[in-house]
Symmetry: C2
């Protein structure tokens, strides 16, 4: 066991999987080291604290998302409202696949961490908030384009974008509590009906 | 320190407060006993395990809700759509008050626990699922009445009820991540716009 180029990656992917399938507090550094086959010294070389590891896991997952199915869903080539359908479908197939492997629907790692640690770790909370702001910006862009091309009537696109993200997180939360990805499929279409109206200006 | 009639209540209220403001895993039985001023023996007399305590906390909070602001919000004397406004307002003022006291928005204890423990504790997951089903039933009843009195067009009232509950949980999740109850006030009105259409029968 030595500090090889992939040691950091092994720690990251092990931690990400464990945090996601269980919880942040439930997984210790010792367990991560054992499963990733690294010594504690190597671990602390890359991650001085568990908080540093959590930040790296969040960034890692966020990067994967941004370049993976979020990029596909929010592809400018798709009509704006189809992007919302794509996003819901992607969440459904992702959660269904994860449940097939693990027997349990893991939910959204960001949502899980947000509810578990937000009151106790200001640094992690701020990072998760930034991830959500970035996701919300994709919805915002999409809604602005949908209003511009006339496919939806004018509305408060910024607030509605955040509302749609909230809905997606809430649907995942209930689906995880039922341990049933079908909840995502059934409730998913509701995302396109959410509207926050523009405040009257005068 | 002895097993007095209020010993169980002290344990329950202490655990409920700590689980809510932090997390389930973050709070140990020892800390609960110290703060509730009970000995471990008394604790285990009432709660053979931490899981038993969690179940009692969920039931306790669920009872308080059912007889407190959920009963007020879903008062049959209110027009159905006003019940939804009342529910959103109640969540907003509750979270705002909690943040004023603790400096941190605690979110919904049920949602917090659901994301933290659902993959690891089947018993707690099932109990939380029952709490959500009960909450969803209140929305369902309300929507059925709203359709009946013509204040909203026909829709899949059962699925929309669950969608509204999901939205509320998702809004609380994002608000907690921003540590800002105003998110609930701004996104709240969106709840009444969510619709899941009836499947065409043919």
């Amino acid at each position: 066991m030595s500090i090889s180029p992939d040691t950091k990656d092994r720690i990251l992917s092990t931690a990400r999987e464990l945090f996601h399938s269980r919880s942040y507090a439930d997984v210790g550094i010792k367990e991560i080291c054992t499963l990733a086959r690294v010594q504690k010294g190597s671990f602390y070389h890359f991650f001085p604290s568990k908080q540093d590891l959590a930040m790296a896991v969040i960034d890692d997952m966020s990067d994967d998302w941004a370049h993976g199915f979020v990029a596909e869903a929010f592809d400018e080539a798709l009509p704006p409202t189809e992007r919302l359908d794509y996003m819901v479908d992607a969440v459904y197939y992702w959660q269904k696949a994860a449940k097939n492997v693990e027997g349990r629907m893991p939910g959204c790692l960001f949502g899980n961490l947000a509810l578990e640690v937000s009151t106790r770790d200001e640094v992690i909370r701020a990072r998760l908030n930034a991830v959500f702001a970035k996701a919300s910006a994709r919805f915002h862009e999409t809604l602005d384009q949908a209003v511009e091309n006339g496919s939806i009537p004018p509305l408060d696109t910024e607030a509605t974008a955040t509302a749609m993200l909230a809905y997606l997180e809430g649907v995942i939360l209930l689906a995880k509590t039922r341990n049933d990805p079908e909840v995502v499929r059934i409730l998913g279409p509701g995302i396109k009906t959410i509207r926050i109206e523009l405040k009257p200006t005068n």
